[in-house]
C-alpha cells in the first residue's frame, strides 16, 4: 500500500499535540485535544484508501487498481459527523460547567476525597487542591449578572496560604 508522507506526518503531529492537550486539566484544552485527535484519526482512515486514483465510477478500459477505494471516505464521512456531535455536546458541557461553577477545570471527586480521608489515606502533598491557573475571568463577582458567586475550595486554600500559585507551581515542578 502506498501512503502519502505529508498526510502521515500531519496525522502524527495532530495526534501528538492532541494527546498532549488532553493531558491538561483545563477543559477547553481537553476539548481542543479531542478535536485534534479526532481529525488525526480521520486522516488515518483517509490514508487507508492507499494511493489516489480515478473516481470510483465504472468505465471501460480501466483496471480495478486504477480506481480510488471509496469505502474509507464513506467511513470517514460518518466519523466526521460523529466527532462533530461529540465536540458539540462536550462544548455544551464545558459551557454549562463554566456557567454553574465558573471553572474550566476537571474538579476533584468529593466522594473520593471523603473516602480517602476516612481511611487515613489522604496525603496532603498528593491530594490537596492545586491552584493551577489564574485568569482575569475568574472573579468572585459575575460580570454579567453582577451576582456574587460562592468561592470554591481551591481558591479558599489560595487565600489562606497567602502565596499559593507560586508554591503550587514549584510543587508541580518538583513532582515532574
Amino acid at each position: 500500500m502506498t501512503i502519502n508522507l505529508t498526510l502521515l506526518i500531519v496525522m502524527g503531529a495532530m495526534l501528538a499535540i492532541g494527546i498532549y492537550l488532553m493531558l491538561e486539566r483545563s477543559l477547553t484544552r481537553v476539548l481542543l485535544g479531542i478535536i485534534l485527535i479526532s481529525n488525526g484519526v480521520n486522516l488515518l482512515i483517509l490514508q487507508t484508501a492507499g494511493r489516489a486514483g480515478e473516481s470510483p465510477i465504472v468505465r471501460d478500459g480501466l483496471g480495478a487498481e486504477e480506481y480510488l477505494d471509496p469505502l474509507p471516505q464513506a467511513l470517514l464521512l460518518t466519523a466526521i459527523v460523529i466527532a462533530f456531535a461529540m465536540v458539540a455536546i462536550l462544548l455544551a458541557l464545558i459551557y454549562r460547567s463554566w456557567v454553574i461553577a465558573r471553572q474550566d477545570e476537571v474538579t476533584d471527586d468529593e466522594e473520593d476525597r471523603r473516602v480517602a480521608t476516612t481511611i487515613g489515606a489522604h496525603d496532603p502533598e498528593e491530594d490537596d487542591d492545586v491552584g493551577t491557573e489564574t485568569s482575569e475571568f475568574i472573579d468572585s463577582v459575575d460580570p454579567v449578572t453582577g451576582s456574587v458567586r460562592a468561592v470554591n475550595p481551591a481558591e479558599r486554600n489560595r487565600e489562606a496560604s497567602e502565596e499559593p500559585t507560586s508554591s503550587s507551581d514549584a510543587h508541580q515542578a518538583g513532582e515532574s
Partner: protein
C-alpha cells in the same frame, strides 16, 4: 422463504428509532410521549422474543441490508448470543422505563427542561444498544456504540446540575477517547485486510503476520476494555454513574458495560480465536475482581458501592471469556444475562431506598426492614443473588466458570478460581453491610438520621410508605426481581441454550456461513474445523454435553467447595450420565 420472520431483525433497531422520532415530535405532550415510548419498547420486546424463539432452534441468521452481498454491504447478524442479549436488554429497559414513568409521576417535573428529552433519548439508547448487538461489521459496531454513548451523555447530565456536569465531563472525555481508539483500530484493520465485515475479517486476519494480529487484537481489547470497565481502565465508572438519576444509573450499569463485554467476546471468539493472550486476560480478570470488590468495601454510599461491585463482577465475565472453552463461554453468556438483570434491579432498589430514606448513605440509614418489609425483600433477593448464594443464578453462573477453570487445570486458572471465591465472599460482606446497617439496625441507633426515617410510630411510617414508594415504581422493580429468580428456575434450559450459543461461537462456521454464504466457507472449512479442534477443548462431546453441564450435575458441588482450599481433587471425572443429560 418469502416471509421469514428473522428478516425483520433490523426492526429491533428501527422501531426504537422511529419511536424516538415521534416522541420528539410530540415534545409538548408528556402523556403522548410516554405512550409512544412504552408502546415502541413493548413492540420491540415482543419482536425480539419472537426472534429469540426463531434463533433458539434455527441458529444464526444474517440480513444483508439493501440486498448488497456480505463483504460489500452492511450485514446484521443475529445468533443465539445476540438474540439472548437483545431480549434481556429490552426487557430490562422496559422495566426501567416503567419505573421512570412511575418516578416522574411521583416527582412532578423536577428535572424537566424546556423540552422533555428523557423518553426519546432513552429510546435512542435502546436503538444503539440493539444496533451494537446486531452489528455484522466493525464500523456498524462503532456506530452502534456512538449512538448509545451519545444518548448516555445526555441522560447522565440530565438537568445539568453541578455534580452531574462534573461527572459527565469525565465520562464523556473517557468515552470519546475509547471511541477514538476503536476508530484507529478500525482504520488499521481496514488498511491491513481491506474489509470491515466481521465474518470477512475472521477469514482474512489469519493471513496477517503474528505481530500485526497481536497489535490489532490488543488495541481492540483496550478500546472495548474501557467501555466494559475492566480493571485498569475502570476508574471512570464509579465517579460518573452514581450521580445520574436512579433509573438512568440502573440502565447504564446493567447495559452499557455489558455491550463492551459483548464486543470483547466477539473479538475473542470470532476475530481472534486462540489462546494467545489468555494469560494476560486472566491476570486482568483477577485484578478486576479483587480491586473492584475492595473498592466496594471502602464505600459508604450504596450507589457507589454497587458501581464498584459492577466493576468487580466484570472480572468474572473476563475470566469466563479467557478460558477459551465451551464450558467457560457458556457460563459467561449465562452470567452476562444474569448480571444485567441483577445489577439493574439493585440500582432500582437503591433508588427506592433513596426515596424512602432520603439518602443512600449506609451510615445514615436504619430500620428499613421494619418500616418497609417489601423494600427489604426487594433488596435482599438480588443482593444475595449478586453475592452468589446458592440456589440463586449468580451461584449457577459462577459455578460454571469455576468448573471451566478447574477443567483447564493450570496454576493461573486455579488462582482465578480462588480469586472468584474470594470475590464472592467479599461481595457477600459488602451487601451484608448494607443489609445490617440499612435494614436491620434500629433507626434510633443511627447517629445523624434523616428526619424522614424517624416516625412517631410504625403506623406513621407505613403510611409514609404509600406516599414515598408508589406502586408504579415498586412493581417494575418486583418484576425484575422475579425475572432474576426466573434465571434460577430456568437455569437448565438457559444453560443449555448458552452452551449451544458458545459452541456456535467457537465453531465459527455457523456465523460465517450465515454472512458469507456456504460457498465461500466451504473453501476454508477444513482449516476452520482443524483450528477449532486444535485450540478449543471439549468442542465435541459424545454425550451431548451432559458431563460438563455444570449446573445440573449437583454431584459435583461438594468437590467444588473443597477445591478452592487444596489442589487435591483436580481431575474432573468425565463420566457421561445420560440420565442427567436427558432431563434438561
Amino acid at each position: 422463504m418469502q416471509f421469514d420472520v428473522v428478516n425483520f431483525v433490523p426492526l429491533a433497531v428501527l422501531i426504537p428509532f422511529f419511536g424516538a422520532a415521534f416522541a420528539f415530535a410530540f415534545y409538548r405532550n408528556q402523556a403522548t410521549q410516554k405512550a409512544i415510548t412504552i408502546g415502541a419498547l413493548i413492540i420491540t420486546v415482543v419482536l425480539e422474543i419472537v426472534l429469540l424463539s426463531e434463533v433458539w432452534h434455527g441458529g444464526t441468521h444474517a440480513v444483508q441490508l439493501a440486498g448488497w452481498p456480505a463483504p460489500f454491504g452492511i450485514s446484521m447478524v443475529i445468533d443465539r448470543f445476540a438474540a439472548l442479549m437483545l431480549v434481556v436488554s429490552s426487557i430490562i429497559t422496559l422495566a426501567v422505563l416503567l419505573y421512570a414513568v412511575g418516578q416522574g409521576a411521583a416527582e412532578e417535573k423536577n428535572d424537566s427542561g424546556p423540552v422533555s428529552i428523557f423518553y426519546p433519548t432513552f429510546l435512542i439508547l435502546v436503538a444503539g444498544v440493539s444496533n451494537a448487538f446486531l452489528a455484522g461489521d466493525l464500523f456498524n459496531l462503532y456506530v452502534g456504540f456512538e449512538i448509545f454513548l451519545t444518548a448516555s451523555y445526555v441522560l447522565l447530565t440530565l438537568g445539568g446540575g453541578e455534580a452531574r456536569i462534573r461527572a459527565g465531563v469525565t465520562y464523556v472525555v473517557v468515552s470519546i477517547l475509547s471511541s477514538m481508539l476503536f476508530l484507529i483500530t478500525i482504520g488499521l484493520m481496514y488498511a491491513a485486510t481491506g474489509t470491515v465485515n466481521l465474518a470477512d475479517l475472521a477469514l482474512k486476519i489469519t493471513e496477517l503476520d503474528h505481530g500485526t494480529q497481536l497489535m490489532l487484537h490488543v488495541m481492540l481489547l483496550v478500546a472495548f476494555g474501557i467501555k466494559a470497565a475492566v480493571f485498569p481502565l475502570a476508574f471512570w465508572l464509579p465517579d460518573s454513574y452514581p450521580t445520574a438519576p436512579a433509573p438512568v444509573t440502573a440502565v447504564f450499569a446493567g447495559l452499557l458495560t455489558k455491550v463492551g463485554i459483548y464486543a470483547m467476546i466477539r473479538t475473542e471468539t470470532l476475530l481472534f480465536p486462540g489462546e494467545r493472550i489468555n494469560t494476560v486476560l486472566m491476570v486482568v480478570a483477577a485484578l478486576t475482581m479483587i480491586v473492584g470488590i475492595l473498592g466496594a468495601l471502602a464505600q459508604s454510599d450504596i450507589k457507589r458501592m454497587l458501581s464498584f461491585t459492577l466493576i468487580s463482577h466484570i472480572g468474572y465475565l473476563v475470566f469466563g471469556l479467557a478460558l477459551s472453552s465451551v464450558i467457560g463461554m457458556a457460563a459467561t453468556i449465562y452470567y452476562v444475562a444474569h448480571h444485567i438483570t441483577i445489577q439493574t434491579t439493585l440500582f432500582l432498589v437503591t433508588g427506592l431506598i433513596e426515596r424512602r430514606a432520603g439518602t443512600s448513605n449506609v451510615d445514615k440509614l436504619g430500620g428499613l426492614a421494619r418500616i418497609s418489609p417489601v423494600l427489604a425483600i426487594l433488596f435482599f433477593l438480588p443482593a444475595m443473588n449478586l453475592a452468589g448464594i446458592p440456589p440463586f443464578s449468580g451461584f449457577v453462573g459462577k459455578l460454571g466458570m469455576m468448573q471451566g477453570g478447574i477443567a483447564e487445570n493450570t496454576w493461573i486458572t486455579w488462582t482465578l478460581v480462588f480469586a472468584s471465591v474470594l470475590t464472592s465472599l467479599l461481595t457477600l460482606l459488602a451487601v451484608a453491610r448494607i443489609w445490617a446497617r440499612g435494614f436491620w439496625r434500629k433507626a434510633e441507633d443511627v447517629e445523624k438520621p434523616e428526619r424522614i426515617l424517624i416516625q412517631k410510630s410504625l403506623a406513621h411510617a407505613r403510611a409514609a410508605n404509600k406516599r414515598l414508594l408508589p406502586a408504579a415504581m415498586v412493581a417494575p422493580t418486583a418484576l425484575l426481581v422475579a425475572m432474576s429468580l426466573a434465571f434460577t428456575v430456568f437455569a437448565g434450559p438457559l444453560m443449555n441454550f448458552s452452551r449451544a450459543a458458545a459452541q456456535d461461537m467457537y465453531e465459527r462456521t455457523p456465523y460465517l456461513e450465515a454472512v458469507l454464504g456456504e460457498d465461500r466457507v466451504d473453501g476454508v472449512r477444513d482449516e476452520l474445523v482443524e483450528f477449532t479442534t486444535g485450540y478449543v477443548i471439549d468442542l465435541d462431546t459424545d454425550d451431548d454435553g451432559a458431563a460438563e453441564f455444570a449446573p445440573v450435575r449437583t454431584s459435583l458441588q461438594p468437590d467444588m467447595e473443597t477445591d478452592d482450599r487444596g489442589f487435591t481433587r483436580v481431575e474432573i471425572d468425565e463420566q457421561a450420565d445420560p440420565a442427567e443429560g436427558g432431563d434438561q
